[in-house]
Structure formats: structure tokens, C-alpha cells
Amino acid sequence: MLTFIRKRSMASLISLVGLVVLVFFLSRLTGDPTDLYLPIDASDEMRAQFRELYGLDDPLIVQFGRYVGNLVQLDFGESIRKARPAIDVVLEAFVWTLQLALITMALVTVAAVVVGSLAAFRVGGFFDRVSGILSLVAASAPDFWIAIVAIVVFAVGLGWLPTSGTGTVWHWILPIAVLFIRPFGLIVQVVRGSMISTLSSAYVKTARAKGVRTRSIIFVHALRNAMLPVITVIGDQAASLLNGAVVIETIFGFPGVGKLMIDSILQRDFTVVLASIIVTALAIFVMNLLIDLAYAALDPRIRH
């Protein structure tokens, strides 16, 4: 297993290099940060000076060489916008995002697995119908809509929770609740689908013949077999949370990496864009590695 992890890490490193090259050159095709950073009535001298200061006047390949040269010394460059080391800015935001993503996904996974499995147990039953419709509505409801309605109801109307921001645990409830909804809806459906087929397999019959409790038939015998497609989707959802939940971060004033990234993209603050992509990519690589390990852990037939 250690060799597997080592090999994977090497392969991921290559992916990372590819990603950096891709992002570096592609993002520069989208315009010059000078125009966005400086006020529109800035003089030509100011512009030239700015370009020189940030090395924007060098050929792209030279800029790239310099970037990579610094990167291998773990220097991610300065954020033009924030006049701070880009990596500091990114890590600060990423810690928030990571917490938010982990907590949300943990809750989603547990809830969706339970609901989806129970729905699959009695296909077409009352619970199945109700949870089906609710999860589909959840999966297709616009999140900002829910976010704002939630603020109006729970914060302004009832005064139970703070509207937004960070600070206490109460501040986490609304963002997590809103973030929860979409992946929950999605994963319930995937769990249900996958569970329907596993619940009809022969080994489930064996378990019944053994007198195993229904709960453990569902959650021990069938679930583990059904988890393969489910963890893939969980991974996908987690990745998009790790990439930042822009809308939620924006509305709730949550200082996460999603908002940072979109702002940096729109402002062409390339060092921050690159740093945040490197950080989130690493997180996503690690997560995908864990998922692959989970596959093997779940299904012995996949182990090599």
C-alpha cells in the first residue's frame, strides 16, 4: 500500500505540474492585471511602472520560468491585490473552506446514506416517495435563494441565528445547512439507486436466512456493496466544496477560498489564483487518493 501511495503521489505531482502550466498560460490569455489594478485614468507612466514592478513586461515564458524558480523554493509570489504573500492569503482562506467542506460532507454523507438506504429498502413506499421528492427538490433548488430566505426567516424574523459572518458556532449553522442541501439531494438519489440493486442480491437473502436484523442487512450487508458509486459522487461533491462554495461564501460573508478565487480570477490576481489552485488541487489529489484507498478497503476484489 505504501508503494501505491508513493506511486500515486508521483503521478499526482505530474498532474499538478500540468495543472500549473495550464493555468499559468491560459489565465494570462484573459487580460492584463494592470488595467484592472490601476484606476482607468492612470497615466501611461504609471502603467509602465506597474508592469515593471510586477515583471509583467517580460515575455510570458520568462515570467513562467521565474514563477517556477520561486515555486520550487516554496515561494508562491506576492498577491498584487493584497500586497501579501499569495500563499498566506490562500492558506488563511483555505482553512475555513476545509472546515466547512469537511463538516458539511460528513453530515451529508451520514444523512444521505441513511435516507437513501431506507428509501431503497421499500421501493415505492411512503418514505421512498417523500424522501425522493424532497431530495430532488433539494438537488435542484437554487442555493442563494434558500440562503437569503433562510437569513430572512431565521436571523431577521425569528432571531435564532446570526445572519452571517464568523465567530461563534452559531455562525456555522446557516452556511452548513444551506451547503448541505444540494449534495444531500444528489447523494440520496445515488445511494438509493445503488442500494436497490444490492438489496436484491443473493447474499442479502443469505443474511435474511441467518436471521440478521433488518438494520444490519441494510447498513452492513447491502450498504458496503452499494458504496462504490456513492463515494465517487461524494468525492465529486467534496471537490466542488473544496474548490469553494462561492455563492454561500459570498452571501454569508464566509472568508473561504471560493470567494477568494473568483475575486482573484476577476481581478486577474494571478499569483493568488495559482496558489489557491495548487492548494485546492493538492487537497483534491489527497481526497482522490483516499477515495481510491476506500474503494480497495470496501471491496476486496479491487485490491491488487
Binding site: A11, G18, L29, G124, S140, R182, G193, S197, V233, Y295
Partner: protein, 304 residues
């Protein structure tokens, strides 16, 4: 040994399907709704294109359910006084083009790559997976900015952006399943018969993966519609005067607190479409699975 009697005729597949559809009234309603949406998409812009664009600043944000104003106004009017119902009908075309386009492309490409990654040699599989990692960690918003900056915002380009970002889910799901299914004995049996890898993958493995993919794809419909809304909102997606449901939601957000109907109706349209697609795909998953089909056939008999 007895003399062989010729095979009896199969009951017509179409008739069987219609019967199974009739058996599931939810799926039938879903299908009817989708047919209506498709008709809206095909005919809407031709029939109502002008009405939907005709502004009337005095009648802006007209509330819904004013029955005396003519049916086009039943859902109220938007901030330029345009009838929402007409706009929803007209927007169906772009919405469906974007959603179906993105989902179909990403599902096709992702599934194909996933099948290859799962069934081809280990090295090819790993390479594909690492590419998927890159796509997965490439922030969709940056991709959108790049593509739309270089190619300009258009329906096609939005489809391209969304399709690329959705590829990894299909790819990873498919591969994970293929790894398990390829070990099943009926796959070995097919190999013994000399079936080509293509045939094995398409005829024996794909049908087993398909239900899961279908669940994901229908939910992705909602995901894509909302992602498109986010892009529009950030100014990097489809832009007015083109309309999509997502864009209508994004625009209505500004007026959420005072004129909820602006974003409510398009949101409802998205939810209903997803719901219908999902009901239909659940039905299909049963109808296509011989071990589950009895559920529909039985019901059809007792009810019909």
C-alpha cells in the same frame, strides 16, 4: 430428443414499454411534462419571442395571479414588465440546449473515458485518472473566464465550459464500477466467446453502469442549470437579452425580498424539470432491468 418448434413471437417492445409507462403514473406525468418542455423549447421562441421581450416599465414586477390580465401574466411580470410565463416558455430553448448539451457531452465523454480507464491496461487507466484529477481541480469559474474571454460568451461556449467541468464525475463513477464488473463471471464468459473488448464494454459492462450514470445525469441537469445561472450572474455566462431559467433566477435575485416571483417561477421550472427527469430515469432504470421489471408489469396488470 423432440423436434424443435420455432420460437414464439416476442411481444412488441414498444407496446411493452408503453404498458410499463402506463403502470407508473408518476413517470407518465413526468414524461408529459418533459414533452411540454421540449415543445416549449422548440416552439416558444417562435410563438412568444416578441411578447417575452416586449418591455413595459410601468407594469414592472407585476405580481402573479392577476387573472384578469391574460394568461401570459399569470405568473406576474419581471422588472422590465415582461410577462414571466412567456419568458419561461421562451427561455426553455436556451436552458434545454445548455443543460442537455452539457450533460450529454460530459456524460458521453466521461463515460467513454471511464470505460477505457476501467477496462484498458493499468497504465492507460492511471493516465486518464490523472487527467481527470487535473480537470477536477481546475476551478470551473476560471475555465469559464478563459473560454468565454477567448471565445466570447455564447450558448455553445457555455456548454463547452460546463461539459468539461462535469466530465470527472462520470469518468470516476464509470471507472470504479467497471473495475468491479469486469471481474464478474459473465464478462469472462463473453471473453471466452471471443467478444472484443469493445463489445464486452458496451454490451456487458455499460448496461450495468448505466442506471447509476443515469441518476447522476438527471441530477446534473439541475446542477448545470444552476451553474449556468451562477456564470451568468458573474457576468461570464449567457447574457441578456438571451434568456435562460438560470439567468432569470440570477436576475430575480436582486428583487428577492420584494418580488419573490421573479426567481421563484424559473426556480420551480428547474425543480420540476429535474423532478420529471428523475422520475423518468427511475422508471427507466426499473424498466430496463429485467430483474426489476416485474414491478411495473405487475402494477400495469392490476391497474390497467
Amino acid at each position: 430428443m423432440t423436434e424443435a418448434t420455432p420460437l414464439p413471437d416476442e411481444p412488441s417492445a414498444l407496446r411493452r414499454f408503453l404498458r410499463m409507462l402506463w403502470a407508473d403514473k408518476f413517470a407518465l406525468a413526468a414524461l408529459i411534462f418533459l414533452v411540454v418542455v421540449v415543445l416549449m423549447a422548440l416552439l416558444g421562441p417562435v410563438l412568444l419571442g416578441d411578447v417575452a421581450q416586449k418591455q413595459n416599465l410601468r407594469g414592472r414586477n407585476a405580481p402573479p395571479f392577476e387573472w384578469d390580465r391574460g394568461w401570459l401574466w399569470w405568473m406576474g411580470a419581471d422588472s422590465l414588465g415582461r410577462p414571466l410565463l412567456a419568458r419561461i416558455i421562451v427561455a426553455a430553448r436556451n436552458t434545454m440546449t445548455v443543460a442537455a448539451g452539457a450533460v450529454i457531452f460530459s456524460a458521453l465523454i466521461g463515460t467513454t473515458l471511464g470505460l477505457i480507464a476501467g477496462y484498458a491496461s493499468r497504465r492507460v487507466g492511471e493516465a486518464i485518472m490523472r487527467v481527470a484529477d487535473v480537470i477536477m481541480s481546475f476551478p470551473s469559474l476560471l475555465l469559464a473566464v478563459i473560454v468565454l474571454y477567448i471565445l466570447g460568451p455564447s450558448v455553445t461556449n457555455v456548454v463547452i465550459v460546463l461539459a468539461i467541468t462535469r466530465i470527472p464525475v462520470y469518468l470516476r463513477t464509470t471507472r470504479a464500477e467497471v473495475l468491479e464488473i469486469r471481474e464478474r463471471m459473465f464478462v469472462s464468459a463473453a471473453r471466452v466467446m471471443g467478444a472484443s473488448p469493445r463489445r464486452i464494454v458496451l454490451r456487458h459492462i455499460l448496461p450495468v453502469v448505466l442506471p447509476t450514470l443515469m441518476t447522476i445525469a438527471t441530477l446534473d441537469f439541475a446542477y448545470v442549470m444552476l451553474a449556468e445561472s451562477a456564470l451568468s450572474f458573474l457576468g461570464i455566462g449567457i447574457q441578456p437579452p438571451e434568456i435562460t431559467w438560470g439567468l432569470m433566477i440570477a436576475q430575480g435575485k436582486e428583487h428577492l425580498t420584494r418580488a419573490w416571483w421573479l426567481s421563484f417561477w424559473p426556480g420551480l421550472a428547474i425543480i420540476l424539470t429535474t423532478l420529471s427527469l428523475n422520475l423518468l430515469s427511475n422508471w427507466m432504470r426499473i424498466a430496463l432491468d429485467p430483474t426489476q421489471r416485474w414491478r411495473l408489469e405487475m402494477r400495469g396488470r392490476s391497474h390497467g
